[in-house]
Symmetry: C2
Subunit: 100 residues, 2 copies
């Protein structure tokens, strides 16, 4: 059971921006970060970072929880793993409809 093509496109689009890639790397390194910390590691306004996080959240690439007055975003490794595998299969799938 793979992702449908629309869902794949949403996830890929969520990653298709340098700022969001940086955020994802940061999350991968620290597992979870609050927004203020991510604002510190990028040179973007807080509202812009929140917007990027919303994009990642909608694509299910991160988890979200609040703790006290802070919001914590955590990387969703399962989804990354699946996306990576599907990308790998995508270009290897050279034999649909033939016998090799």
């Amino acid at each position: 059971m793979g992702l449908d093509i629309e869902n794949q496109a949403v996830k890929l689009a969520a990653l298709a921006h340098p700022a969001r890639l940086k955020i994802v790397r940061q999350l991968a390194n620290e597992n979870a970060c609050c927004v203020k910390h991510l604002v510190g590691t990028t040179d973007l306004a807080q509202s812009t970072v929140s917007q990027h996080l919303k994009t990642l959240l909608k694509a299910d690439l991160v988890f979200y929880r609040t703790e006290k007055q802070a919001s914590w975003y955590e990387i969703n490794r399962e989804e990354f793993s699946q996306l990576s595998k599907e990308l790998d299969l995508m270009f290897k799938d050279c034999c649909k409809g033939c016998d090799c």
Copy 2:
């Protein structure tokens, strides 16, 4: 030597559209297709398909050659392989700055 973050974003953006994902799958299955054939497998105008192919070409995800009056686009498996690997590393890279 990995791709820089801008290049990663360009490649991911090139894949972040259902029509281009379908085109890529078609190319993966048949290795190479001419434009007319790809127009037949999508429900888009020929000019739109050409535009999508240009996007994939700029991201180095496909090769291009002309043969007779046709243009052939071929999947670049090397680039897909690298992108897939980097995506895989991205979310696994939990240990930058520690010893594990």
